[in-house]
Symmetry: C2
Subunit: 462 residues, 2 copies
Amino acid sequence: MSESTVIDQLLAELGTGIVQLPSEFGTRQLHDWSGVPGETPVALIRPRTTEDVATALRICHAHAQPVVTQGGLTGLVGGANALGGEVALSLERMNRIVEIDRTSATMTVEAGVPLQAVQEAALDAGFYFPLDLGARGSCTIGGNLATNAGGNRVIKYGMMRDQVLGLEAVFANGEVASGMHKMIKNNSGYDLRHLLIGSEGTLGVITRAVLRLRPRPTAVATAWCALPDYDAVTTLLTCAQAELPAGVSAFEVMWAGYYDAVLANLPELRAPVGGRYPYYVLLESVGSDAGPHAAMFEAFLGRMLEEGVVVDAALAQSEADAIAFWTIRDAPGEYQKFIPHHSAFDVSFSISDVGEVAARCERGLLEKWPDALVMIYGHLGDGNLHIVVDIPGTEGRLHDEIDRVVYEVTQEFHGSVSAEHGIGVKKKAFLGHTRTRIEIAAMHQIKAALDPRGILNPGKIF
Amino acid sequence: MSESTVIDQLLAELGTGIVQLPSEFGTRQLHDWSGVPGETPVALIRPRTTEDVATALRICHAHAQPVVTQGGLTGLVGGANALGGEVALSLERMNRIVEIDRTSATMTVEAGVPLQAVQEAALDAGFYFPLDLGARGSCTIGGNLATNAGGNRVIKYGMMRDQVLGLEAVFANGEVASGMHKMIKNNSGYDLRHLLIGSEGTLGVITRAVLRLRPRPTAVATAWCALPDYDAVTTLLTCAQAELPAGVSAFEVMWAGYYDAVLANLPELRAPVGGRYPYYVLLESVGSDAGPHAAMFEAFLGRMLEEGVVVDAALAQSEADAIAFWTIRDAPGEYQKFIPHHSAFDVSFSISDVGEVAARCERGLLEKWPDALVMIYGHLGDGNLHIVVDIPGTEGRLHDEIDRVVYEVTQEFHGSVSAEHGIGVKKKAFLGHTRTRIEIAAMHQIKAALDPRGILNPGKIF
């Protein structure tokens, strides 16, 4: 069937209020934040209900029409970009918070609701929704689910998949799989929820979710620590996890090269401690009962200083102090100002390998490009490293070569080429560095079983 | 091909040390703890390595020979029973702890290692493996994975799937899918790990796993609480989760009928508080730094008593006290003594529905059978109820009718017919009470994709 027939039928069943042609959606943003260019979709569908999504997919399935589902378009791997010939399905209108159940500590939402709206509604109800990332104002719960988003507090609360009790999704043929349960435990057959989460829109379109809320922390303790060597970093992590009564909510490590570069290039940043050290850690613990919480955190930090695990430290005395520490950790948002053509990596490893991996990547890059700027930082508690590389004067022309250096080390250490961003199109070539041939074959078999015509987000992941 | 040809080939490639015929394995236990009878398998394979498992499945796949995988045979739904004509694959010899990585806080094990061996090895290494259930001495990690086992401390640490970073499994055709990673974050394609966990041996044979270890708690505070009504129970849960600095590690609710019956029938039990109340809660919080931990727990309990949420309470002053409280909660292990023909349920719900569900089940059962003994207890923090029913003089003849009463209420409240035990054969008829037709169809499609000849544990789940 021709494209126009599909679009005629979509228009006939859904109407012009829901289906728009390129001439109508005009200058709308069509690609994510990855820098991967996006094509203009043949039509844009903006459903209001799950039934609209089901109708759209039923028609597209009948015509073998490819569909790319879009949320906030804040992804970093091109997963939500149209590649050419797709209908785009934007869930932006399905943005309602349906219910907050205080006894069950759950929030039922449509997929298009922005993450920040969920965080704020949870706080208003006396709860906490722990997933957090820089794109919170624009990214949507549907996109967080499709990519299994991570962020800063995974060490305590887990990733997006750990925040979900129930899901509703529409399969490629338009059938609605409803599993909108509020149960924490449910061992009744295969866990389709975990299969859909992180499948980047290739197995179904997630339309609604039951999210799990957590008790709202009422106390937060934050410290900036300077450490003498990498062993001290892992010792601090192990001790903090074992000894801080409320556990660790963030353990962000910054290598000296990162710290030096951001302080040198972003004049608004203030150094929390004097002197220079090989490693810095932003340590945070959230809990309840502020008085004892702060006292126990300070006592722990004192022990670490006495034992020489930490050689200098600054304890946040106010929220402003804590924000100042986090601003150093969040400086990557400002890179564009001084290294607009940098390469960025989101890789993960066994925690015991992270120190050596970082050293190997740095050495490998500097051997090839002695003037390279290499900035390394990450969520050590999760084994997740972010590596930013810029080679002055090359203006991004060496991206592929830089990729090869970092991903070869990743493969050698059995790491993941994507800790939290997904594969999309940007990392497709490197999927085999992390997953085996047999695992990838199984993914193909599952894809063919659930989407036999291959209409859902074709060309992504594999 | 005939059975004897398959077995000849298994014997030829694996040898008599690994493949045994019924005449050789003799009086071996052949069924799980469910009471569902098991058939004698046509052969018993006891592999020593993943390669042995791969060889066995390759041969069985070629001959379309059904295979049932067995661990400790402690399941409660007949999931590991042979139904007739299967080869049994027991992983009992693959019981090694391969490695403990202290920096990454991981333990790498073979699937046949008993849960208790993992718990003990973790403690010896200064860590904690939090999954715990009554069958710990006999059940194996492979069985815990196949059924996504739960237990007492899910409220703090999650279920079995939350304790696993990497898996190795053999697919039906004998291909080995190796994902033995130690990464906490890995968003590289579909999460096959979560699909295999809880699939009850129908999608692959799990041979090894990388388990996540937790910091060893060094302090434990336990209280026995009496409560005036169900609202007080949910209030205590919400407050304990928000206010106890280390959170809640167990929140076990017992309805009056449960408490009265076990105290009347098991003379070795001692009542922790005087008087009778509608609800009892065993509240536990594990943490570090015993002094402040105990003080904050006691202060919390004091507030709950002042506010009338708790009307009487006993705080464990010693490990012996705590054990005495847990003995009342663990009395189900002793039911056989006084109600050998009881029906038992493992159902879950939205936490906000649990009170009404329990009342509805009790009323429904007593309307039909006025002299029924109905005992209700459960892990409220997980929405998980256990219901035990005995109708004097019927000697188990009414099991099916009792099932219908409880599972109809379960369906009406969108609950799960299996919170933590799995479906196996015992709950197959009720899978559709929890999962929709479209979800079950998707399970069939996935099963057909990964096991096209249907050799893995046929007749289970659906």
